[in-house]
């Protein structure tokens, strides 16, 4: 019966499209040295500002054209994906672990635990997030791990707020009371009864947060505060593209499209996963 229902509903086009793009981008990033047509760092002044393949003057092997230093744009985007995905996964998982745990505790236990955690969240959210991120990176120093840390430090509240509200709603349900009557301990009930009911939301938020982390990383790269190596990043490419918009629009447009597609895919993928994880919505 279960199999029949899943087969009938299918996986849904949303999940396929978003998941397909993410998988493609992720595989390309992982196997970047194998799939990138050129060395992303190789400069060649003879090849500067080549247009994308369908325009006149394009060179074979440089599908999306080159930037003002003659570096291959497609290869730079593929390699830039590595940092984007590392930041997305690490920062989102860290924010999720901290935020969901605190949210679950606040929502389920209520009382003073809730008051303390909610107050911290309120204070945290009083800072404008982008400014907060720039400030944090300025303090922590640039580099991959401080970018990840900064994003996690800023965004755990997103998880905390949502999961707190959901856990609080679940805790009022009769099945939680039933478990107490049966003699389960508080922590056991929190983990075994309440947690499974908030997992769909955690999954959706986690995916959304990965997209947000990519944007934040791009913004930090854009203002030159992110990873200070020569490795290409999407935000860094966008920043360079902005300078040569009149001579070579593609250096700005393609990374923007890549960024937007990836971020949208993460949020859509999360929503689709949420309905798949939820036995009632499914």
């Amino acid at each position: 019966m279960d199999e029949a229902r899943i087969a009938r509903r299918g996986l849904g086009p949303r999940l396929w499209l978003a998941g397909g793009w993410l998988l493609l981008a992720l595989l390309a990033a992982i196997f970047a040295p194998l799939v990138a047509p050129q060395d992303p760092l190789a400069q060649d002044l003879m090849l500067e500002r080549l247009p994308p393949f369908w325009m006149s003057g394009a060179e074979p092997g440089y599908w999306l054209g080159t930037d003002s230093l003659g570096r291959d744009l497609l290869s730079r985007l593929i390699f830039g994906g590595r940092i984007a995905f590392i930041v997305a996964f690490a920062a989102a998982i860290a924010a999720c672990l901290v935020g969901s745990t605190l949210g679950l505790i606040a929502g389920y236990f209520g009382g003073w635990a809730d008051r303390i955690i909610s107050r911290i969240v309120d204070v945290w959210m009083a800072f404008p997030p982008v400014l907060f991120a720039i400030l944090l990176v300025a303090v922590l120093g640039t580099g991959l791990s401080s970018v990840i840390l900064a994003i996690a430090i800023i965004d755990w509240t997103r998880f905390c707020r949502v999961i707190r509200a959901e856990a609080m709603g679940q805790s009022r349900m009769d099945y939680v009371e039933n478990a107490r009557i049966a003699g389960y301990g508080r922590i056991g009930i929190m983990l075994r009864e309440v947690l499974p009911n908030v997992v769909p939301s955690i999954v959706a938020l986690l995916s959304l947060e990965m997209g947000i982390a990519i944007i934040v990383e791009a913004i930090l790269s854009f203002v030159n505060l992110s990873i200070s190596t020569d490795d290409p990043t999407w935000g860094g490419i966008i920043a360079e593209g902005r300078l040569s918009i009149h001579q070579a629009w593609w250096v700005l447009v393609f990374p923007l499209i890549t960024l937007i597609l990836t971020v949208l895919s993460f949020s859509q993928f999360g929503e689709a996963l949420k309905t798949r994880f939820d036995p009632v919505l499914r």
Binding site: D2, M173, Y175, I181, E193, P196, P279
Partner: protein
């Protein structure tokens, strides 16, 4: 023989000082069904929750004792109290949908308690659950055990909860309006099932309801509750033959009968309500004096 449940002079207050339970006394003998009847807001659910140890944190017990199977619940260490309540009691709730965890399958939800809390082997628990599902006339246990709660009808869910309540052979079951959320046709079947299982297992039940028709069908004893106060307490047969308290008589007059379908439209008499209000005030004054 000592009572299965004995509540003596139980009072509980809200943070604003309002008494929700007013020196409630009632007892349930082993194997007996006691109905607890009263209108909405009378405090029936509060009494059930007090016994099961799940009162809302805003409600505070200020006097009285509750004795379960000879153990004074108030004197037990909280942990020992939880263990005792978990082993000896069960709840058949009002709303069978919210009483089941929506994201867990029925099977593990039912066996978990036997295995984790009572330490049964998985096989023993599984056999036991299937036996109980058979007793509540679920003919396709495999499907039901694999289902999520929302995949079952309301009547099925309530059967599952009844089976779960009886599975661990509790001595006392609190049934809190177990048929209110169900269709009229299903209500009768569920009521009959509870009565049947109660008789076979010899379980004592504190049966909360606002329906005197149900009281007559299922119980041997009745307590009539008004505004957190027991206003009348009697054998069920005696109560219906000769109700003593005017409020009980008013409730009976308000219960619909086929011979007089409009009777249910009669409100409870003004003078009866005035009398009740005076009774409650007097009780509260008498209660406050010794406490300063």
């Amino acid at each position: 023989m000592s009572a299965c449940l004995d509540i003596a002079n139980l009072s509980a207050v809200l943070p604003n000082g309002l008494r929700v339970l007013r020196s409630v006394s009632l007892s349930v003998q082993p194997g007996e069904v006691r109905a607890l009847v009263g209108e909405s807001g009378a405090g029936k659910t509060m009494i059930g929750k007090a016994v099961l140890g799940v009162l809302p944190s805003s409600v505070r017990i200020v006097e009285g004792t509750m004795t379960l199977e000879g153990e004074d619940l108030g004197r037990l260490h909280p942990k020992a109290r939880r263990t005792l309540i978990g082993a000896r009691t069960a709840l058949i709730p009002q709303d069978p949908l919210t009483a089941l965890n929506p994201s867990r399958r029925i099977g593990p939800q039912m066996t978990d308690r036997l295995v984790r809390i009572l330490g049964w082997s998985t096989q023993k628990a599984d056999t036991r659950i299937r036996q109980l599902l058979d007793e509540v006339q679920i003919r396709d246990p495999d499907r039901v055990l694999k289902s999520y709660p929302h995949e079952l009808s309301g009547g099925m869910r309530q059967r599952v909860l009844i089976a779960a309540a009886f599975a661990a052979e509790p001595r006392l079951i609190v049934a809190d309006e177990p048929t209110t959320a169900l269709d009229v046709t299903v209500q009768k079947q569920i009521l009959r099932l509870i009565a049947e299982l109660q008789r076979e297992h010899g379980t004592a039940i504190l049966f909360v309801t606002h329906d005197l028709g149900v009281v007559a069908k299922i119980s041997q004893k009745v307590s009539v509750l008004y505004a957190g106060k027991v206003v009348e307490e009697a054998d069920t047969a005696a109560l219906f033959a000769s109700p003593r308290h005017p409020y009980t008589r008013a409730l009976m007059a308000a219960t619909p009968r086929y011979t007089d379908p409009f009777a249910s439209l009669k409100p409870v008499d003004e003078t009866v309500l005035a009398g009740l209000a005076a009774e409650i005030t007097a009780a509260d004054q008498a209660w406050r004096r010794p406490h300063g």
